[in-house]
């Protein structure tokens, strides 16, 4: 009887013990799931916040672009057209002497010529017609030769990649990235020399870009949050590329990014 009581006691204790352990494990699992779920939620929220920031920057970049076009139209084309109409008004006026009219006409022709040139340039900046017709490389070469003509900057360009002639959206993104990089080099870096190399290295194409500008400390995050940098980063992401950039104050700027073209 005593043995039987002992046996019952032990079995009861074991069962109670196991139930206690099971209950605590169940509580542990539920709590852990909640914790993981919470952390996931936090991560998602951060992602959304980041995407919002990117969206904000994109909108801002568009506004900037529109402002630039408006300024171009206002400063360059409007002023020229006003000058033309002033000259035409003079031409029409009875008080203008016959011998002066020749000069005024020449003036109008000259202003018109320059207006056409500026219109072409603005259109070019917005969407290069060479790109549409001949693809990326000729468009880039034209862009570089335009810059080289100014003598403010010397751009060297090499490529061993064979692009399809047909212009694609991805090629346009590469064009825009280069355009933005050159803009930054001249505007912020005051660079006088720029080297650009395109290398085909299976499975990627690599673009290596370097300038001799003033540079900045690329390890400080604040420096990378400018409008231009975010734009470039987004464009590189949009062509499924990766990038490494390196810059030191007074040591120029260097970026390498990968891209795949179809």
């Amino acid at each position: 009887m005593n043995n039987y009581d002992d046996f019952l006691l032990v079995i009861t204790v074991i069962i109670v013990f196991l139930i206690l352990v099971c209950v605590s494990i169940v509580i542990f699992i539920i709590k852990s799931r909640n914790k993981i779920f919470k952390k996931e939620l936090e991560k998602k929220n951060l992602e959304i916040e980041f995407q919002n920031q990117v969206l904000q920057k994109t909108i801002l970049a568009r506004e900037e672009e529109q402002k630039r076009i408006a300024e171009d139209l206002h400063d360059d084309i409007s002023s020229k057209l006003i000058a033309t109409s002033l000259n035409l008004f003079l031409l029409k006026s009875k008080e203008t002497k016959e011998e002066n009219k020749e000069g005024i006409i020449n003036n109008i022709v000259e202003i018109n010529k320059r207006t056409i040139e500026i219109t072409r340039k603005i259109a070019h900046d917005l969407y290069p017609p060479v790109f549409e017709k001949f693809g990326l490389i000729p468009a880039l070469e034209e862009l570089f030769s335009d810059y080289n003509k100014t003598n403010a900057v010397k751009i060297k360009f090499n490529s061993n990649i064979k692009f399809k002639n047909k212009a694609s959206n991805k090629q346009l993104q590469v064009f825009r990235i280069i355009q933005e990089l050159i803009n930054n080099s001249i505007k912020h870096g005051k660079a006088s020399k720029i080297d650009i190399n395109f290398n085909a290295q299976e499975p990627f194409n690599i673009c290596e870009y370097r300038d001799n500008g003033t540079g900045f400390n690329s390890e400080e995050l604040e420096n990378l949050k400018g409008l231009g940098c975010i734009n470039i980063e987004n464009r590189i992401k949009s062509i499924n590329g990766n990038y490494i950039l390196h810059s030191r104050p007074n040591k120029g700027f260097k970026i390498e990014f990968t891209f795949k073209l179809i």
Binding site: F7, I14, F17
Partner: protein
Amino acid sequence: MDNPFLVAFSISIFGLVFLFINVVIFFKTFKKNSNDKSYKNLVVYLSVYFIIELACNIIGYIEPNSNIFVSHFAFNIQFILLSLFFYSLFKKQFLKKLVIIVYIVFLITNALFYYNDSNLFWEFNLFEIVFSSFLIIIYTLIHIYNSLEEVKSYFYFTIGVSTYMLTSSVIFLSGNLELVFIEEPYIDIWVFNSLFFIVYQSLIYKEWKYIKSSNLNE
């Protein structure tokens, strides 16, 4: 009749040797981890536990079945050392306080049990086994919960402790019944304890390897 005993005994000795190896290797990397309080506590626990196991085996060898009283030392000392280990592992103050309060309550209640029935010393104390094991399992669960989505610290060890506590306590609880599974050849329930102990030691060894590799990475 002699042989199965020998098998059980050699499995137990193998676990003991494994524990000894673990103590030695944990001492070897002691300097590198001397800043880690939990590591120190773990080394103390392993060393003391080795001494207890050694004593248990020697007494059991000289006079079979007279080593039950060693279990009281084993469970009590194990509980205080692992409480210390988890005390240093927990970061939140209220958990640290909880460990201390729980230990004091356990100690008083356990003392009352012995005061009530001094014969308890010569058999397995059910309260002692159940609560010390259960509380350690709770500590390990709290630790695993705390380290979710963070860098693993003493993950293998905590897994090892909790599984060993669970299995060994059930075996120790049934110790008073003298359960024998198979008469011929003679295999009693303690073989399983030795086997689980070896699993526990292998997880401790894995923990040491993990600590060593993270030391190298630093």
